[in-house]
Every structure is written in structure tokens, then in C-alpha cells.
């Protein structure tokens, strides 16, 4: 199986050179293959080929192969930039480097490195080295203060996945096939026809299919496996809820607050305040409002209306809704701030022209204001997603602590619960790697798709 992996890596190298390098020669093909094989071999050998050892299952092999080919691919990307430089493809940075050497301020190549070194040292010590340690920890079973650590290869990861390698390969392939199929259909249909409408539906289904594929790839628990599907679904619901509530609410409030009304600037200042508090404080605030015994809201409802408000921690829907409310409220201030700034860039000429042409208020908003706000929206989408993934931990810890029965336990909460509270460093690191990969994938995808739809500048 290891040989199979290496052979495929070599072929990948050849393919990559064929597709991505302009000037190809036999020598370059050979180098490409060799680099791919080397890149694939390094992590596998570093782990002692444990992914292919005796007693490992199909899923272990699959993860090992994925790791190998991923590492090979990264090595090929590095090789490509090397080839590009050799080809004399002057990139902007190279041109600037040329300027450094010939212009009025002459410096050696090492000067930028020296100037950057303080930042680099801090980044390496506090960010990159711990990241590498996280990756190595994720393959171990260890606790703080234990006399030894046990190497468990991929088992921390396979605990989170469905134990069927065929399914693990099939689901993502099917999702990708659906997406490309929808795109193909879109390109081959003309606008306004039923075919195009079908293609629109298909592309939406394509988007959803990724989420469905991931849902099916995580394990449902039982038999020594972790119920990671539950964590995945909860993360999805809470994250999308926070982002939607935060951004839509933020835009709506900012749009309303942007008009010339008396005391408008005072309102705008007050609306931004939730931004200044920490997520923990937001959690405590909403705890004080909704707590069944001590909460203001519940007590008020009981005394004034005689309604017994149900305990928000006993129902999954209420618990998730309260987390979304508390976190969304906190990030609302941030979104309002940026949207207020963005609304100032909306071209008033266009709006006036639209009014003259008879566009309704909603049409003006949808066709003029929102496209003008697209750079802000894109930025806020990224920031809100990061907030919803990572910083909501404190809010959840104060409000529900993952209740009821884990329904508000999102990915980051599970990581801290397992890795820090429970002391199981290996499993915590493995889930951390998973979350890291997910966030990287989302950010990359965001930049590729939404980034292209952003219109900077004027009409």
C-alpha cells in the first residue's frame, strides 16, 4: 500500500508538471515526480509508516494516503514557484527585489529578513511551533504529568469518522460530481429557460451536497466512536445562525440608523456598544436575562403575564437560539459599525437616479446599496465566521455549558472540553487539526468564489 501511494505520487508529479508548468522538459518531469515522491514520503516516514502497519484498517490506509498525496501536492506547489523563478517570470515581489538592488537605496537580500526577524521569531515561537506540536500531538495518546506517551497513529482521527473507507471516498466524490455537473449544466443552458432554472436548483443542491457529504462522513457514535455528527450539526446550526443573524440584523439596523434623524449620531454610537464587551460578558448578560430561577425575563413574564417560560437549557432549539441571540447580539455592534461606514460609500447619484426612474425602496436597496456594500459584506463574512467558530466558546460556557446533552457543544467547545478540561491532549489536538482544516478550506473557498463577485470601486 505504501508503494502504491508513492507510485501514485510520482504520477501526480508528472501530471502536475504537464498541467501547470509552461516550459516542460524530460528533466523537469523527472524532477516533478521526484519532488512529489519525496514530499509524500517525508510525513509517512516521520510517523514510522504507522498508517500501513499491521492491524490498521482501511480508513487508516486512506488517511495515510491522503496525508502522503497532500504533502506531495504542497511540495509540488513549492516546486512550481521555483520553476517560475527559473523561467524568469518576474512576479511583483521579484521586481521589487530588483528595485532594491539597483535603486537609490541599495541593500542586500538579507536586509528584509533581518528587519522581519523580530516578528518572525515571535510567530515561530508562539504560532508555528505550537502548530507543529499540535500536529504531532494529534497522533499520540497523552496526558499532562503522565510518565509516558503512547503513539496511536491515526486513531484519534478515525474515532471521528465513519469506519468505511469506501464511503469516505465516495461521498466527497459524489458531492464534487454534483457541483461540476451543475456548473456544466449552467454553462450549457441559456438564461430564462427552464433549463437554466433547473441549473440554478442544481447548483444549490451542489452546495448543500458538500454539507451532506461531510455529515455522512463523520461518525454517529457508538462502539468506541465519538458522536461527531452531533458536534458537526450543532456547529453548523449555531455558526450559520450567528452569521445570518449578525449580518442581516446588522445591515438592517445600520440601514435604518443611517437616515438623517434627530439624535442620529447618538443612536449610532449607542448601537455600536455591544462590540466593546467580551463574549464571556455577553454570555453572563443573557444568562442573567433568561435563567429560569434568577433571570429578569423569566421572572418578569411570570409576574406580569403569568407565563411560565420554559428553561432554555432543557430544549435543544431554545438553547441554540439563545446562544445565537447572545453571540449575534454581541457581533451586531461590530457589523453595524462597518456597515455604517460602508453605507457612506454608496453613490447618492445612483440612488437619486433610481428614485427618478421609479424604483421602489426595496429595489433601490437590493440593486444599488447591496452591491456597493459587497466588499464590506465579504470582509464581515470572514470575520463573523472566525468569531462564530472560535470566540463563541466563552458565551456557551456561561450560558449552557454544552447543554442539553451536548446540543450546544460546537467544535471549539468540544476541543476545550476534551483537551483541556479532560486533559486528553491527543484527542483535543486531533479535533483541533480538523477544525483548522475546515476553517482553511472555508476561507480558501470564500476567497475564490465570493472574492470574485466583490466589486471594488465605483459603478
Amino acid at each position: 500500500m505504501l508503494i502504491f501511494g508513492l507510485v501514485v505520487a510520482a504520477l501526480l508529479g508528472l501530471l502536475y508538471v504537464r498541467l501547470n508548468i509552461e516550459t516542460r522538459s524530460l528533466q523537469r518531469y523527472a524532477i516533478g515526480s521526484a519532488v512529489a515522491v519525496a514530499g509524500a514520503a517525508i510525513p509517512t516516514l516521520a510517523m514510522g509508516r504507522c498508517g500501513f502497519a499491521e492491524g490498521t484498517s482501511g480508513v487508516d490506509h486512506l488517511l495515510s494516503l491522503t496525508l502522503m498525496w497532500g504533502a506531495g501536492w504542497i511540495a509540488l506547489i513549492a516546486l512550481r514557484s521555483f520553476f517560475d523563478r527559473a523561467d524568469g517570470k518576474a512576479k511583483e515581489s521579484a521586481a521589487m527585489a530588483g528595485e532594491i538592488r539597483t535603486g537609490g537605496y541599495r541593500m542586500g537580500w538579507w536586509v528584509p529578513w533581518v528587519l522581519l526577524s523580530p516578528t518572525l521569531i515571535i510567530l515561530i515561537v508562539f504560532l508555528y511551533y505550537p502548530a507543529v506540536q499540535t500536529f504531532t500531538l494529534s497522533t499520540k495518546l497523552t496526558r499532562l504529568g503522565a510518565p509516558k506517551t503512547v503513539d496511536v497513529c491515526f486513531s484519534n482521527f478515525t474515532e471521528l469518522l465513519v469506519l468505511n473507507p469506501v464511503k469516505l471516498v465516495a461521498y466527497p466524490l459524489i458531492a464534487v460530481a454534483v457541483i461540476y455537473g451543475a456548473r456544466f449544466w449552467m454553462n450549457h443552458s441559456s438564461p430564462g429557460t427552464w433549463s437554466r432554472k433547473g441549473a440554478d436548483v442544481a447548483s444549490v443542491i451542489g452546495m448543500l451536497s458538500i454539507f451532506v457529504a461531510m455529515f455522512l462522513m463523520f461518525s454517529p457514535g457508538g462502539g468506541g466512536q465519538v458522536d461527531y455528527r452531533d458536534v458537526y450539526v450543532n456547529t453548523l446550526i449555531i455558526t450559520l445562525g450567528i452569521v445570518a443573524f449578525g449580518m442581516i440584523g446588522g445591515l438592517a439596523v445600520a440601514y435604518l440608523a443611517f437616515r438623517k434623524i434627530r439624535g442620529g449620531s447618538a443612536y449610532r454610537t449607542l448601537l455600536i456598544w455591544p462590540y466593546a464587551i467580551s463574549p464571556a460578558v455577553a454570555g453572563v448578560l443573557f444568562f442573567m436575562i433568561f435563567d429560569p430561577t434568577a433571570g429578569i425575563f423569566t421572572h418578569g413574564m411570570e409576574v406580569v403575564f403569568g407565563i411560565d417560560v420554559p428553561n432554555y437549557r432543557e430544549s435543544a432549539v431554545l438553547a441554540q437560539a439563545s446562544i445565537i441571540l447572545a453571540s449575534g447580539w454581541k457581533i451586531l455592534g461590530y457589523n453595524i459599525l462597518f456597515y455604517l461606514a460602508g453605507l457612506q460609500t454608496v453613490s447618492t447619484d445612483q440612488v437619486e437616479a433610481a428614485v427618478i426612474d421609479g424604483a421602489s425602496s426595496w429595489q433601490r436597496f437590493y440593486k444599488i446599496v447591496m452591491p456597493a456594500l459587497s466588499p464590506i459584506t465579504f470582509f464581515l463574512l470572514v470575520t463573523n465566521l472566525v468569531y462564530a467558530f472560535f470566540e463563541v466558546y466563552a458565551t456557551i460556557d456561561f450560558m449552557t455549558k454544552g447543554a442539553p446533552a451536548g446540543k450546544t457543544s460546537i467544535a471549539i467547545y468540544e476541543i476545550i472540553r476534551v483537551g483541556v478540561n479532560n486533559g486528553d491532549l491527543g484527542r483535543g489536538a486531533a479535533q483541533s487539526v480538523l477544525l483548522f482544516a475546515a476553517v482553511i478550506a472555508i476561507t480558501l473557498w470564500q476567497f475564490r468564489t465570493t472574492g470574485s463577485k466583490v466589486s471594488y470601486g465605483g459603478a
Binding site: 495518546l141 504529568g145 503522565a146 503512547v150 435563567d291 446533552a405 472540553r417 486533559g423
Partner: protein, 489 residues
């Protein structure tokens, strides 16, 4: 004008920097009044309940080199941390060669992790405060070279009856606590805050429902709850307690049921955990039946000490099973007649005994002899009869030594607050068997979490107890297996 402002700004900055950089240790330079005499005298004096610092004529000059002893405490509230700070200050006055420094941490886990990291980095503290459930973990903890981190206090005292003028109190520690922390025949650490579960009853509400005595058995609880919920102005629930594994362990102790193999880990290492025992099923089924009947109120959070005590004080429940460590708090803050009673037990099973809870002070290994003596002296001073009695009166944790109990008795404290006697009485009534002592398990914190998560699942999602605990059993056994893999052999 601009020049003047700039000059003033520069002056302000310089002053700020100078103020920040000045040294601020004021304790070692002041004159110390010898208070060593008052500690030993208080043991014989019976007039004062709390030790007062009686200033005797001082004979000290400012010491040159003090031996620092770091005492890491897992309390951060003013009352309990303040107690530790005050005792440390008194000890420092009485022993000018030593400087006990108290550092507070947010939780027991924080203290432990910090201690391990400190040992690894070569600057360990002297004494740390750690809870009972992690006793196995503390015994197994080793530093980078594989040496145990903690040293047995009994071994360190080595039979002395007095250390640096402080009488040794280790021998008079009450049986329940001594037996819990004695492993392999050695009494390892000095218990500080020890409690047990007691039930607090809102007697006004119970009397209104026709119940005159606090319920003692499960059947009594059900009868009382039926009566309370039948009242016109019935509260929203009848009884509550935090969803904490400690209460589960208490009922297992009451029923004489083991939680771990090798006699609850006391005659060897516990390699198996028993989450599906008859006693466990019995208790969980009863708990679920109370919840189904609307008698038990689940506040929604695991380990919700605050929510349950708030519910009791607000009159939303009539009975609260809780830790005796807050007896004084409830006595002070309840606006109704608050009576403490034994934790109810199953009338169909012979009563064996309730366990202790709380925490103990561990001493780190590898200290020099003089430092170690100082640490031991502080430990014995800290729990001398007067201090132990004062600690009990401040909080509700039991007086940890028999001498302290006698002291309080002779002062009539128990006549004033009868609720405070309940915990000590309940522990004294326990049979000294491995089941009633409680378990020593590896990964006990993780296993406790597995139990509370399973219980929350059962209560909130209305699951079948046996099926859910079967899953919990598999998870807990796996966790224990991994612990044993890492820590033994």
C-alpha cells in the same frame, strides 16, 4: 504654552515609570511581632473561638534571608481565600524565618496543571491544594525523570510530635478523612476542606404540607414531595441537587456498592469501573422517577451548585441535597427555617456509609529539609484545633481534627447551630468499608464527566437508564484503560 505642556507630560511619564518600577514588598521589612506563642496557647485556651493575634513583645530583627514556601490554593472567593491568607500571615509572624506565600487559582485542575508544569520547569511550589477525586492522579503524577511529585506527609513527619513549635495534628484527623487519604498504609496528605452531602430542608414549607421531620429515606422523600406538590401554593419543584457525580458516589457508598475494582482502588489499582452495578441502576431509576413525577427540578446545567442553591433559597424547592460546606451560608441567608439532615438513603438497602468530599493539601517532594520542616509546620498550624474550628464556623466544612470538634463542643457552638453537627455525625455513622470510603480511580474527572453527561442525557432526553449507562460504561472503561496504559507499567 506648548513647551510647558510637553514638560508636564514628560514629568508625568517619568513619575509613572518610577512608581511602577519601585519595589513593593512591604511585608518583609516591617517589624514582626512574635505571634508564635498564641498558636500553641490557643489549643489550650477555650475562651476564644477564632484565634486573635495577641502581640507579645517582639525579639526579632528584620530577617535577612527568608525561606519561601509557596502554597497554591484553589479558592478565589474572599472568605475562603482570605482565611488562607490570614493564616499564612499569622504563621509568617510566628516564624520569621519562613515566608508562606498564598497564590490563588480558579479551580483544582488549574492548580494541578500549574503544579506539574512548575515541577517540569524546575520551580515547584511547596504545598498545593487538590481535590479528593484526583487522589489517584496525584499519586501517579511524576516529573520528567519519573519521580513521584508528591511526598507522603506521614513519611515526612517521621513520627515527630512537634515541628518548629507546632504540635503535630495529623494523628487526630477524623477517621473518614484519614481513611480516604490513606493509600498503601500511608496517610498521604493533610485534609483541609472536607465535607459530605447533607440535605437542607425548608421546614416552613414542609410543615405546611404536614411533614414534621426531614425525610430520611427515599420513600419519605416521595411522601413529602407528594404532600408538598399538593399544596395550593406549591413551588415549582420539590427537591433538587446538582447533577454532580459526587452525589452518585454518595449513594453508591450508602448502598455499599463498589465503583471500581480492587476494592474501589484501595487494595490495588482499580482497572475496572462499574457503571452498571445494581446500586447505580437503583439510584438512577429512582432519580429519573422523581424527575418524571415533577418532584425533582433539573436546573439544566451539570454541576450546577449556584443554580440549585438559588432555587432553594428562592423557595422554588422544598429540599436541597447539597454539600455541607455551605451550611453557614444557608444558615445566614435562608429566610425560612433551614434544617439540615442526613442525605436520604434507600430504605430497602442496608445503610453502609456516606463518603467525604472536598480537598486536601499535598506536599511536593524534593524540598530541602529546612523548607520541608517549614511546610510541615505550616500544615500543622493551619489545621490546629483553633484554626480548624474557625474554618468550620466560617464555611461549614467539618472540623478536620477530633480536637477541633471537642473545642467547638465545649464552646457550645453546636447548640447554637445544630445544622453544623449533621455532617460530622453522618461521617461518624459510616462503616469503614472500601465502598463507603469512595473510589480511587484514574481519569476520575473524565469518568465523572461521563456519568454527569449520561445523567443529563437521561433526564433531558428521557432515555432508558440501562441502555444509556451501558454506553457510559464502555466509554468510562476505555478511559480508565487508557489511563492505566499511560500511568502504570
Amino acid at each position: 504654552m506648548k513647551g510647558l505642556l510637553r514638560y508636564l507630560a514628560l514629568l508625568a511619564v517619568v513619575m509613572l515609570v518610577a512608581a511602577a518600577c519601585s519595589s513593593d514588598d512591604t511585608d518583609s521589612e516591617t517589624d514582626t511581632t512574635a505571634a508564635a506563642t498564641e498558636t500553641t496557647a490557643a489549643a489550650t485556651e477555650t475562651t476564644e473561638a477564632a484565634p486573635d493575634t495577641t502581640a507579645a513583645p517582639a525579639t526579632t530583627a528584620p530577617p535577612t534571608e527568608k525561606i519561601d514556601i509557596d502554597f497554591w490554593v484553589a479558592f478565589s472567593d474572599e472568605a475562603r481565600l482570605g482565611f488562607a491568607n490570614d493564616r499564612a500571615a499569622e504563621f509568617n509572624e510566628g516564624h520569621p524565618d519562613y515566608n508562606v506565600r498564598v497564590t490563588s487559582f480558579a479551580s483544582y485542575n488549574d492548580v494541578f496543571d500549574a503544579a506539574i508544569l512548575a515541577v517540569d520547569s524546575g520551580e515547584p511550589p511547596g504545598l498545593i491544594h487538590f481535590f479528593e477525586a484526583a487522589t489517584r492522579q496525584a499519586l501517579d503524577a511524576v516529573d520528567g525523570d519519573g519521580n513521584p511529585i508528591f511526598k507522603s506527609v506521614t513519611d515526612a513527619i517521621a513520627g515527630r510530635t512537634e515541628i518548629l513549635g507546632e504540635p503535630v495534628v495529623l494523628d487526630s484527623v477524623v477517621d473518614a478523612a484519614r481513611n480516604y487519604y490513606t493509600v498503601d498504609g500511608s496517610f498521604y496528605s493533610m485534609p483541609w476542606n472536607t465535607s459530605t452531602t447533607v440535605m437542607f430542608n425548608n421546614m416552613d414549607m414542609l410543615n405546611e404540607a404536614g411533614i414534621t421531620e426531614p425525610p430520611a429515606t427515599w420513600a419519605d422523600v416521595e411522601t413529602a414531595c407528594a404532600a408538598v406538590m399538593a399544596l395550593d401554593d406549591a413551588p415549582s419543584g420539590c427537591i433538587t441537587w446538582p447533577n454532580h457525580s459526587w452525589f452518585v458516589e454518595q449513594t453508591l457508598g450508602q448502598q455499599g456498592e463498589l465503583l471500581g475494582s480492587a476494592d474501589n482502588g484501595r487494595s490495588g489499582r482499580a482497572t475496572e469501573v462499574y457503571l452498571e452495578s445494581a446500586g447505580m441502576m437503583n439510584y438512577l431509576n429512582w432519580w429519573k422517577s422523581l424527575d418524571d413525577a415533577g418532584y425533582y427540578t433539573y436546573t439544566g446545567l451539570q454541576r450546577d451548585w449556584d443554580g440549585t442553591s438559588n432555587a432553594y433559597l428562592a423557595g422554588e424547592v422544598a429540599m436541597l441535597v447539597y454539600s455541607s460546606s455551605d451550611t453557614t451560608f444557608f444558615d445566614t441567608n435562608a429566610e425560612f427555617t433551614n434544617v439540615a439532615s442526613f442525605m436520604p438513603s434507600d430504605q430497602d438497602v442496608d445503610y453502609v456509609g456516606n463518603l467525604i468530599g472536598g480537598a486536601t493539601i499535598w506536599m511536593l517532594d524534593g524540598m530541602e529539609a529546612t523548607t520541608e520542616d517549614g511546610a510541615l509546620a505550616f500544615l500543622n498550624f493551619f489545621s490546629n484545633p483553633a484554626n480548624a474550628a474557625a474554618w468550620h464556623q466560617l464555611t461549614g466544612y467539618i472540623p478536620i481534627t477530633q480536637d477541633a470538634v471537642d473545642l467547638l463542643d465545649s464552646e457550645g457552638w453546636y447548640d447554637e447551630s445544630p445544622n453544623s453537627k449533621v455532617a460530622s455525625d453522618q461521617l461518624a455513622a459510616a462503616a469503614n468499608t472500601p465502598a463507603s470510603l469512595g473510589a480511587l480511580l484514574g481519569n476520575f474527572v473524565g469518568i465523572r464527566d461521563i456519568i454527569t453527561i449520561a445523567i443529563e442525557d437521561i433526564l433531558v432526553n428521557d432515555l432508558d437508564v440501562a441502555t444509556r449507562m451501558a454506553d457510559a460504561q464502555a466509554e468510562a472503561q476505555k478511559s480508565l484503560d487508557e489511563y492505566e496504559l499511560l500511568f502504570s507499567g
